[in-house]
Amino acid sequence: MGVVFDAIFSVSVFLLVSIGLFVILGLMNIVNLAHTAFMAVAVYAELYFTGHGWNFWLSAAAGVAVTTLLGAIVEFAIVRRLYGRHIDDTILATWGVSLILVQVLAIAFGSTTTSVAPPLSGSVKFLGELLSIYRIFIVATVATVVAAMAAVIRFSKAGLIVRMVMTNEPLARGVGINTGMVQRLTFVAGAAFAGLAGTLLGPTQGISPSFASSLLASTFLIVLMSGRRLSGLLFACVAAGLAQTLFSAYGNPVIANVMVICTAVVVLRLKPEGLIWPRH
């Protein structure tokens, strides 16, 4: 049972981190290599505010707000100049943004690893296993976010517009949709998701300016496996999370990391279109 919950948690973490990347890549065709740097900004904002006496939840909300604002600034200053450009340009530009953000954090807060206390402590016993309450909270939050996102995309007018822009951007523009604004809001939303991931994972991690950077490669592969569909993202996270947990539990973490990459390679070789839910 412990392994099952560990796998669920691992899938949730992959979902939490990759959802912002997924939104930006899926809608804008931009590979945002600054994603984990945005997460780092969020967690340092959280650290700053908790250090000034704010409670965790307010600090986390402030961290998300700071990252959302930063996303808007980066979009205005850099990313909007890259719309329609080759994907290499977006990789180079967002990588540059990432390096700048990491160094600014190092200058402002120092490079020493620190941490922030979790807001929920203790465990509950479930089927004989002790499960951390904070980890359960993360799993529940991720499930809620993914369900809400699916509902918005499937049932709301905003979701319809987003789907239309994703499917055929010139046509959407032709029928009067302000596609520039949709893209702008998408990047800001992606940054907000990075903020959410950073603030939620903060209490479980050592915090340094290169916070979560080791997750960037695996989550990028997950987004490639997703086929730019939310259902595909869910399947890709399940595949990566299972590979990570099972090979870690019954092998070792070094093999597990390699197996996540192998899983992505095999999936992309067999299903280059990604793990898309079949439509009839």
Partner: protein
């Protein structure tokens, strides 16, 4: 927006990133005025990448303080000047950085605080050029290289002292949780011998790659093994990540922890979840004594609230003072320093260290974190000799 202006935005962003990423380095301290040329020290440490975060603040502060003292009190026959460089936690970068320091900046000595692989990559150029290289950190023993001196305890001096203390306190079944690196893996067999010699045993081990964000599976293995204590040999942010997850996991709540590589600041940041963690090092800011107090006061005068009087600061500080003692005349250069270093001792903030072969005899302190992450000294070993013997 024209294509030309867009390209310029991309290029500007990349240039700014490279400039800010630490690829640049420059003289850190003004040399004393006069005709005597300064001794240039190249100080290489990981300021970026996964290994950053350990020595970054303390190491630089200790180095700057020592250079300042040497120049203001004329403690060496030549003034000192330091150039700080980032090895980016990468051996290839470390090799390039060292070549630049030696052949372009013409440094007389190198002090480094990076992982073993970076140190060895750097030392290829230093050895070829006959430049003394002082590794100001704790590391594995048994490396006898003509120009390389460890100005920090070798792993056996601290780890074995720590293991003996834990076993002595009644924790006989131990689990070894390490980073997936050669020095950490190589430290396991001697640690097993030390545990057995003290009456304990290491019943299991795990190694995780750098940048691990989820230790659930390892914590499950530790819970299943039911040791009395876990020896944590993780580096940088991984050490804090593991401790945070360990502290929040009730499956391992009854198991004690002993950390070997976390900084005091990181231990402090753990707060209550970091209580009662054993640790061993050649220095803690809680070490009693006048020299230690003076060291902390000097760092606080220089850096105020940002002062980091930790073991990294002390090892960098001692390394610079060891070099100063080796510079005995205005004509002293790399060759003379290399000849003098094997007989030098330094009275540092932790007590006296003495270079013995290529390693040092040093005080070792075993500490335990209290409820707010401060390290309280529980045992002091005043002069622990190195196990490695280099001729």
């Amino acid at each position: 927006m024209s294509r030309h202006r867009r390209s310029r935005a991309v290029r500007l962003s990349a240039i700014c990133a490279v400039v800010l990423s630490g690829a640049w380095s420059g003289p850190d301290s003004q040399a004393r005025a006069g005709d005597v040329q300064p001794i240039k020290i190249g100080f290489m440490l990981p300021l970026s990448g996964p290994a950053a975060g350990g020595s970054a603040e303390g190491g630089q502060q200790g180095l700057r303080l020592a250079v300042d003292e040497i120049n203001s009190r004329h403690l060496a026959a030549r003034p000192f000047e330091a150039i700080i460089a980032d090895d980016a936690s990468d051996p290839r970068t470390a090799a390039e950085v060292c070549k630049r320091l030696i052949f372009q900046d013409k440094v007389d000595a190198i002090i480094s605080q990076g992982p073993t692989a970076n140190r060895m990559a750097c030392n290829q150029a230093a050895l070829k050029a006959g430049i003394p290289h002082l590794a100001a950190l704790s590391g594995p023993g048994g490396m006898c290289i003509a120009n390389l001196f460890m100005i920090g305890p070798e792993t056996s001096q601290t780890l074995h002292t720590l293991v003996r203390q834990i076993v002595k306190d009644g924790n006989t079944k131990l689990y070894y949780m390490g980073a997936d690196s050669s020095p950490i893996r190589d430290a396991l067999p001697p640690a097993m011998s030390a545990a057995e010699a003290a009456g304990g045993t290491i019943i299991g081990s795990s190694f995780s790659p750098s940048g691990t964000t989820d230790f659930s599976s390892e914590l499950a293995k530790i819970a299943a093994a039911r040791p009395d204590a876990v020896i944590m040999m993780l580096m940088g942010a991984d050490a804090v990540t593991f401790s945070r997850q360990f502290g929040g996991d009730d499956r391992v709540a009854a198991i004690k922890r002993a950390d070997f590589l976390m900084t005091e600041k990181a231990l402090h940041s753990l707060g209550r979840s970091g209580a009662n963690i054993y640790s061993a090092a050649s220095y803690y800011s809680s070490v009693p004594g006048e020299a230690g107090m003076e060291f902390k006061a000097s760092l606080t005068r220089m850096y105020g609230e940002m002062a980091a009087p930790d073991v990294w600061a002390v090892m960098a500080y001692n390394a610079v003072h060891a070099l100063a003692k080796a510079v005995t005349s205005p004509s002293s250069g790399a060759k003379e320093i290399l000849e003098a270093l094997p007989n030098i001792s330094v009275d540092g903030p932790e007590g006296r260290i003495k270079i013995s072969g290529r390693y040092i005899s040093t005080p070792v302190f075993v500490g335990k974190t209290d409820g707010v992450g401060r390290v309280q000294i529980v045992a002091t070993y005043s002069d622990v000799p190195p196990a490695a013997h280099c001729k």
